[in-house]
């Protein structure tokens, strides 16, 4: 198809950057949605292409972080200063890695040729970790049979630490890899993911850390020809958790589905800056993140950058983020950005919305005899279920459902009817 297709009838004109959508209207939600972008038609001129951001392996080349930088401005940098430019231990940590045929897990030296194949740090914390790790953990998937590996990582410890992980899916391989993170942590990690031609890989990173844990991670992914990559960020526990996936659909036919689900409680900061780069033609990308917030100071940040490069003709891309605010005193930032450097795309669009419980949904359920607390549980679970169901790995889905259930058990009954009340959660 020649020009971009309209995705919704009520779309509005393109801007260089999606406006941040925060808060919501009383008893409703504030939605933001665009579609049908066309570079030539709209004379689109990006301020700075997302791809052109400064990168370096050397932390010293990044200026000191002030908290005003585009990629730090919504992060509580004061709570992770030691991770951004302090000393980090680079020693290997203990792992729970069950033996799995077709999946090799081993530690390699920093000089290993696989280090640095996909990623280059875009921020000082990532560069700090890059310069600090002693050994990299390499997970290699080979063969063609479907494999599953849940890698238990609960022994990072509370002292500041750097980690480096490489996941390589050989051509035609097929696997689900879960990084199951829990326990204490003050960790900065870089994860490089290589998805070979025609491989199918799902990587799930679960952040179920202790309450005072801090975790700053960047995942760099490169998706090969006709390969399918699913990347899932699940953030539940931790004080500051920031996971930034930067995925490149590098070869024709590459398919990237980037999912996220998060539940932020009182005082928690859960952040994800997603970058999806359509570098090659005929690539398909879907970004879908959903989160719930409850309790004083519960905070979430989602920044979704999608770049459709000059060579990425016949690309199909859509990104969205939705947040459900359960109580007062929360703030959700949701910022979609879409840059398109070619006029020849199949479709591209984005949507973002942050809102309260839908009172009509609650009324409907309650009018069938279901108590208010049970109705709230159903609505929140239903809201997050869309993502959970897409993970495609049953044992994890069950676990997540019960984790969400546990989070909700704490929230139920706190928020009364929101009707007619000003939504003051999620405001700047």
């Amino acid at each position: 198809m020649e020009a971009a297709t309209a995705l919704t009838p009520d779309q509005h004109a393109a801007t260089a950057s999606g406006a941040p959508t925060t808060g919501g209207l009383p008893g409703g939600s504030k939605a933001h949605s665009d579609g049908g972008w066309d570079a030539r038609e709209k004379g689109f001129i990006p301020v700075q292409t997302r791809d052109a951001r400064f990168r370096s392996y050397a932390a010293a080349e990044f200026p000191a972080v002030t908290g005003h930088e585009v990629n730090w401005k919504l992060t509580p940098v004061g709570r992770i200063g030691d991770l951004i430019d302090g000393e980090l231990s680079g020693a290997p940590y203990e792992l729970d890695a069950p033996t799995t045929t077709g999946i090799d897990v081993s530690w390699v030296d920093r000089s290993d040729a696989r280090v640095g194949v996909v990623g280059t740090p875009e921020d000082k914390a990532a560069a700090n970790a890059w310069g600090s790790f002693d050994k990299a953990l390499v997970i290699t998937v080979s063969g063609e049979d479907e494999q599953e590996l849940v890698l238990g990582r609960s022994a990072f410890g509370a002292a500041p630490r750097a980690a480096h992980t490489i996941i390589e899916a050989k051509p035609f391989s097929n696997a689900v890899i879960v990084l199951d993170n829990s326990g204490a942590a003050s960790l900065v990690e870089n994860v490089e993911i290589v998805i070979g031609d025609s491989a199918r890989l799902t990587v799930v990173t679960v952040q179920d850390f202790d309450d005072d844990a801090r975790y700053v991670a960047t995942h760099f992914g490169r998706v090969g020809r006709d390969a399918r990559f699913k990347h899932v960020v699940v953030s539940l526990g931790g004080s500051v958790v920031r996971v930034n996936p930067a995925i490149t659909l590098a070869e024709p036919g590459a398919d990237g589905e980037l999912l996220g689900v998060y539940f932020s409680d009182a005082g928690q900061h859960l952040e994800q800056q997603v970058f999806l780069f359509h570098e090659a033609a005929n690539t398909k990308g879907r970004v879908n993140y959903k989160g719930a917030l409850q309790g004083e100071g519960a905070r979430t940040v989602w920044i979704g950058d999608v770049l459709i490069g000059a060579n990425a003709s016949a690309t199909d891309s859509y990104e969205q983020n939705r947040n459900l605010v359960l109580t007062d005193g929360t703030r959700a930032d949701s910022i979609p950005n879409l840059e398109i450097e070619t006029g020849d795309i199949l479709g591209a669009g984005h949507a973002s919305a942050t809102g309260r419980f839908d009172d009509e949904q609650l009324f409907y359920l309650r009018s069938r005899g279901i108590s208010e607390s049970e109705a709230r549980r159903l609505v929140v679970r239903g809201f997050l279920a869309e993502i959970v169901q897409k993970i495609g790995f049953a044992p994890l889905e069950e676990r997540l459902n019960s984790a969400i259930e546990a989070e909700l058990a704490a929230s139920v009954g706190i928020a009364g009817s929101t009707l007619g009340r000003q939504v003051d959660g999620a405001q700047r």
């Binding site: 839908d358 009172d359 009509e360 949904q361 009324f363 409907y364 359920l365 309650r366 009018s367 069938r368 005899g369 279901i370 108590s371 208010e372 049970e374 109705a375 159903l378 609505v379 679970r381 239903g382 809201f383 997050l384 279920a385 869309e386 009817s417 009707l419 007619g420």
Partner: protein, 255 residues
């Protein structure tokens, strides 16, 4: 013998321009097994009456009473009203993303009965009711009302009516947007529930069409937030021929 009594009910709604009075003193008594049709032009307050009975938070009761067998319905929460035996089939049923119809129905049944239904009979009941309403079995696993057509949503309302077995049901324009076949199927469902449980029905409608399939014992003409005229089934026939003009001009003249 169960009775739902509405006396001098006055209801207002919060609008951007402030509180607006809609119901101006409604009196209605519905006994077990009776079918009352409420007919009136658009905007006359029919849905407001339905929502006020169900307890929708948008509507404020400024005066009057609703009692169910002497119990004060207005003092009950929305879910308490449902558990007391009231049911509202909505004009625009709500979509609930991520919640399957099966899960929803079982949760509602458990809440209404105070205990989980026995799995075997429940599964059979659901399947049978769905079959009679010509609902494909896939509707069980789909999310509540999500992506349903208008007619499918109305069938889903009647499915709930049949399974939850309330004492009184308010059906708010259940006929609107239905083609003849769907109208028959839905009406048969209502009649089944009526015969099976002695359900009392408040059938709200704009048109007389549904009254060909569900015969009312009483007809109330609703105009400008109150009952303007009452009678038997013959009143509906008169409305069919004359429309609401007679009432509307009278109303204008009175103002």
């Amino acid at each position: 013998m169960s009775t739902l009594t509405i006396a001098d009910l006055q209801v207002s709604v919060a609008t951007d321009q402030g509180q607006k009075q809609i119901l101006r003193g409604v009196d209605l008594t519905i006994k077990e097994g009776e079918i009352h049709a409420i007919m009136g032009p658009n905007g006359s307050g029919k849905s407001t009456l339905a929502y006020a009975i169900a307890g929708h938070p948008k509507y404020t009761v400024d005066g009057g009473s609703i009692t169910l067998d002497g119990e004060d319905v207005l003092a009950m929460s929305v879910d308490e009203r449902a558990r007391a035996g009231l049911f509202l089939a909505m004009q625009y049923p709500v979509e609930i993303p991520g919640v399957t119809n099966t899960n929803f129905l079982r949760t509602a049944k458990t809440a209404i009965d105070g205990e989980a239904p026995s799995i075997r009979t429940w599964v059979k009941d659901v399947r049978e009711s769905m079959g009679k309403l010509r609902m494909d079995s896939t509707f069980a696993e789909r999310n509540v009302n999500e992506g349903f057509s208008g007619g499918e949503k109305k069938r889903n309302e009647i499915l709930q009516l049949e399974l939850l077995k309330p004492k009184f049901a308010v059906l708010d324009e259940t006929d609107s947007g239905l083609d003849v076949d769907a109208l028959k199927i839905v009406s048969e469902g209502v009649n089944r529930a009526h015969q099976a449980t002695g359900l009392g029905i408040l059938l709200i409608t704009h048109y007389t069409r549904i009254l060909r399939y569900i015969s009312p014992d009483f007809v109330h003409v609703f105009v400008a937030g109150r009952v303007a005229e009452e009678g038997g089934a013959e009143l509906a026939e008169r409305l069919e021929e004359e429309g609401y003009d007679r009432f509307l001009t009278g109303e204008t003249a009175a103002v």
